[in-house]
Amino acid sequence: MSERKRLRIVALLCRWCSYAGADLAGVSRTKYASDVLPIKVPCSARMDPQLVIRAFSEGADGVLLAGCHPGDCHYLKGNYKALRRFMLLKKYTSQMGIEDERLRLEWISASEGARYAEVVNEMSARVAKLGPLNWRREIPIET
């Protein structure tokens, strides 16, 4: 791998599918980009837009959301809610000037360890191309 500064990609993973998928990638010793910081959440519907916005505002360069495939949600409809929230949130983040590639929603099941690694690698490469986000909530006053 070429020398570059490590990025901070926050991954919010649903505990039933995607976190188990990430675990599988781990126990299978699949190699993937180390830029990702996985966080376990109870369901993809727990991925409140505020968590994503806070991640960006506090220094994340990208946010990956992952949950069960549609129809497979442990709580029946959680991932549909996640999808709707994501679609609305995406409108906001793009209006705020955050590039599309920095926010991604993927369906990753517990058996898809390889898919998890692939998504993380892809995202890390795309975000690396954009460079760090370095969000500034306020422009400091000079005088």
Binding site: D48, P49, P70, Y80, Y92
Partner: protein, 319 residues
């Protein structure tokens, strides 16, 4: 009447504001006269004949209550905010602009310089487009800061009284506390800690919206919750205290009283709430979601009308 020396001193200063907050004091009606009798007004350019020198002449930290309305967008506002802080025992961010950046906070979606040029040179109604903007010498415009700030982003603020304009009930309770000499704890919000929905008299039943409407597109049922009728109403994510005056007048809440305690960012809370109640019938993995939020063209204008400057992202990405 109390002797002059025993009266609490009050000043009302302005930043980037439409002065609507000053007018809201007139809503006090005849009781405004009781207030003005019971206090000594040191400085209030919109209400009495007072000059900046009058405020500067007062001893530091001697004014009991300074109300500052308006956001901070240029160097004049900044100077005024700092002067108020120096002279005040207790500084109040008065109105949504002072508390959250308010409408001027929306300049954080672009560059102030561009907006300044647009307003002073680009407008079609302006005849002489070649006249340059003056930032020095006589008749100079105050220099714009890099963005709009809420008052507490530039100086320490003791008390918040949001609202656009501040609701009468909250203004009276502030003056009630001041006149009775009750100490006001730092960080007090003169607003309810419950949402607008608690005060809204509309009937709330089942929140399951098939399509969103913009306000002018439908004739809303005057009794039913506006959100249930597909109109974006910020009520669930906004502090109460206004007695839901807009909703009870058939207008959706726009969120002027700001985020609820511990919520910090009312826009994202509202996005979360809205997305979970707008649903497609028989949602399945083949459902087409592409058109569901098509009606929302401006997410910042819809969800952050008054709170842009104090939101979690605060401003558009700095280029």
């Amino acid at each position: 009447m109390k002797p002059e020396s025993a009266k609490p001193k009050i000043a009302i200063a302005l930043g980037a504001t439409c002065s609507g907050c000053d007018y809201s004091l007139l809503d006090l009606g005849p009781s405004l006269l009781d207030v003005t009798d019971a206090v000594e007004i040191v400085y209030w350019p919109t209400g009495i004949d007072s000059k900046l020198e009058d405020l500067e002449a007062v001893e530091d930290g001697s004014i009991d209550l300074v109300l500052f309305d308006g956001a901070v967008v240029n160097e004049d506002n900044l100077e005024m905010a700092r002067l108020c802080r120096k002279k005040a025992k207790s500084l109040v961010a008065f109105g949504s602009c002072g508390a959250y950046g308010g409408i001027p906070g929306l300049i954080n979606t672009g560059s102030p310089k561009k907006i300044l040029l647009e307003v002073y040179q680009g407008l079609p109604s302006r005849s002489d487009k070649s006249e340059p903007l003056k930032f020095e010498g006589e008749g100079a415009l105050p220099k714009m800061l890099g963005q709009a700030y809420a008052l507490d982003q530039v100086v320490d603020v003791d008390v918040y009284l949001p609202g656009c304009p501040p609701p009468l009930k909250l203004v009276s309770s502030l003056f009630g506390d001041v006149l009775s000499g009750k100490p006001i704890a730092k960080g007090t919000y003169y607003a309810s800690s419950r949402s607008v929905c608690y005060e809204c008299k509309r009937v709330k039943e089942n929140k399951d919206i098939a399509t969103l409407h913009r306000y002018h597109e439908i004739q809303p049922d005057p009794k039913r919750c506006l959100l249930e009728q597909g109109i974006i109403c910020m009520g669930p994510a906004t502090r109460g205290g206004c007695e839901a005056v807009c909703c009870n007048q058939n207008q959706p809440c726009r969120g002027c009283l700001g985020p609820l305690p511990n919520a910090e960012d009312s826009g994202s809370e509202m996005m979360s709430a809205l997305a979970s109640i707008v649903s497609l019938s028989n949602e399945s993995k083949d459902s087409d979601y592409s058109a569901i939020f098509d009606d929302i063209n401006d997410t910042i204008g819809s969800f952050y009308t008054f709170t842009m400057a104090k939101s979690l992202l605060g401003r558009r990405k700095v280029e």
